[in-house]
């Protein structure tokens, strides 16, 4: 018979987690992706319009619209009480990135929908431009706030990643919006979208590498288990897709292949970050270890003073 007897000063309670794992379902990593597409498409759309590329502006508008439609559906579906979804708009709290994000998504969704309606009916061109402006204005915040949301938890792999994660998510949003637009736009009009996709992929992989390097021990979950597999898939797919887009993106078939690879890679990237948080919360060593080190350092500091 095994014994439960231990020595003094163990490092966990029967190896059980200190933190609760998040209760979020697959809707959330999907939303991390669609929210990024929605946000960065607003920016790309306005940029293309300002550059006189109406064809690309139209693609971005409808890509963004699709993402804006899907996003709230995913979020509502993930709630424990979907029938109370509107309670998100009871208050506005800057201490809650989810509250801020709900309002940002609502404004962005309203602006993009308005722009699309004007475009479809061919009416109110100035109002349509105003809506495009609003959509672009909240596009940046919509693309990165989800990183702040995840970092603003007690989960070590997310909280400690707070310095780089917004850059990872922002770049991922740009790459996603660029690839999605390149997928549905004839190559002659999609140069900007391809450049955004390639640049986004490069920036995101650099930021991710810096993040993993700085995190060290706390960042282990990003390399292990399901999160590790997804991280590797994300790297291979995004970099592979970006290479195809960069080298052969002017050919339609290659553009479709490259864009699809980038999009798949971006979903995998969001999913890997999502999963890493679960793995990080599950193992008490990531919670207890750094905190114990912090206490020891403080005690040593107090002694030398």
């Amino acid at each position: 018979m095994s014994s439960v007897t231990t020595e003094r000063g163990g490092d966990s309670y029967y190896g059980r987690p200190v933190l609760k794992e998040p209760v979020w379902k697959p809707e959330i990593p999907l939303y991390l992706f669609t929210g990024g597409v929605a946000g960065a498409s607003g920016l790309l759309g306005l940029g293309a319009r300002m550059a006189g590329n109406e064809r690309l502006a139209k693609s971005s508008l409808y890509v963004g619209l699709a993402a804006e439609m899907v996003s709230p559906a995913l979020l509502v579906s993930d709630l424990g009480r979907p029938e109370r979804a509107l309670n998100m708009f009871r208050v506005f709290k800057v201490t809650s990135p989810m509250s801020v994000g709900s309002w940002v998504l609502a404004v962005s969704g309203g602006a993009t929908t308005t722009e699309a309606v004007c475009d479809l009916l061919g009416i109110l061109p100035r109002f349509k431009l105003f809506a495009a402006g609003v959509s672009a204005l909240v596009g940046g915040p919509l693309s990165v706030y989800t990183a702040t949301l995840l970092s603003n938890t007690a989960v070590p792999a997310w909280h400690e990643a707070r310095h780089e994660l917004p850059f990872v998510f922002g770049a991922s949003a740009g790459a996603s919006a660029g690839a999605a637009a390149a997928l549905v736009t004839p190559p002659w009009a999609a140069g900007s979208a391809r450049r955004l996709a390639v640049g986004g992929v490069l920036a995101e992989n650099v930021a991710m590498t810096l993040m993993e390097r700085r995190l060290g021990f706390v960042g282990e979950p990003y390399h292990q288990g399901a999160a590790g597999t997804l991280t590797r898939v994300a790297k291979a797919a995004t970099l592979g897709g970006a290479a195809v887009l960069a080298l052969a993106g002017r050919r339609r078939a290659a553009a479709v292949l490259g864009s699809a690879l980038v999009l798949a890679g971006e979903v995998a990237l969001r999913w890997s970050v999502f999963k890493a948080g679960f793995q990080s919360a599950r193992d008490p060593k990531y919670t207890v270890g750094p905190q114990r080190e912090r206490l020891s350092a403080r005690a040593a500091d107090a002694r030398t003073r």
Binding site: V18, E21, G47, R81, N87, S151, A154, F167, W188, G200
Partner: protein, 279 residues
């Protein structure tokens, strides 16, 4: 606001009877949850959660209860001690769950405690990973009061200790403290409890109790001090408690600043992609 109240849980007199767990479940109508044999001493409750607002931890240690002077470590021998501790929501001064709640369902009461409004919570789940102690959780057992088409579906809201808000309103102490037969769970004004805990710690340390320490008592700690704090007989992690918890929102101003920079970088990136090429 009336005087801030809380719990001082003195684990040195806990006998592991679990009367607190039972009293809490009965008073607050907390539903049954998975019950099984863990094999981990007498702990079959596992952890705090939506269906366990008090949780008694049991730790069996090869260590003496008291350490007399400097010879103690060598004389441990076959000494055995049984640590028991009734854990509960800490009702933090700076509460992460309350800060991150997007609906305002979580609020601070006039007693300085942190409570979920069950008629407001929409089950977004943000508070769950935000809590540095892993206290609050979403209830997945079926609920009777959901409208069609969700009738009979999971409850879907988050639940945790309310420090018996309803009993406080009526001038009564919380059910767990009332039921505790050894006064291990003490309820009262927080200032008074802190004084009492300091005196108790000094007494135990004077008597050479092994590992006696206060946990969550310090108003300068990462959560601004806990409304429910403890006297432990070993390090916090031994009881499954984080040794140096910090409210995540303490770092939020910096996180928002980083987000603004990242959003700006994206705008610059898009501009470069659009205006930096030929088509």
């Amino acid at each position: 606001m009336t005087e801030r109240v809380g719990f001082f849980t003195d684990t040195s007199v806990c006998i592991g009877c679990k009367a607190c767990e039972v009293a809490c479940k009965e008073w607050n109508l907390v539903p049954q949850h998975d019950v099984g044999w863990t094999g981990d001493s007498y702990d079959n409750t596992n952890a705090l959660g939506s269906e366990a607002w008090r949780h008694v931890a049991f730790i069996e240690q090869r260590a003496p209860i008291r350490v007399d002077g400097e010879t103690a470590e060598a004389e441990v021998g076959d000494a055995l001690r049984w640590l028991m501790s009734s854990d509960v929501c800490k009702h933090c001064t700076h509460a992460a769950c309350l800060d991150v709640c997007p609906t305002g369902a979580l609020f601070r009461t006039e007693f300085g405690t942190v409570v979920v409004q069950e008629d407001v919570c929409n089950g977004c789940g943000y508070c769950v990973p935000a809590c540095p102690y892993g206290v609050i959780d979403r209830r997945e057992v079926p609920s009777v009061d959901r409208p069609a088409p969700f009738t009979g579906g999971p409850d879907g809201r988050v639940w945790k200790c309310t420090l018996c808000y309803d009993r406080l309103e009526g001038g009564h102490e919380p059910a767990c403290a009332k039921a505790c037969p050894t006064d291990s769970i003490q309820f009262g004004p927080l200032d008074e409890l802190r004084e009492r805990a300091d005196a108790r710690l000094a007494k135990l340390q004077g008597e050479g109790w092994n590992g006696a320490q206060l946990y969550g008592r310090d108003p300068d700690d990462g959560v601004g001090g806990a409304g429910a704090f403890f006297l432990l007989l070993d390090d916090p992690e031994v009881y499954g408690l984080p040794p140096d918890p910090v409210v995540t929102t303490r770092d939020l101003p910096g996180m928002w600043a980083t987000a603004v920079v990242a959003a700006g970088a994206l705008v610059v990136g898009v501009a470069a992609a659009v205006f930096g090429g030929r088509s």
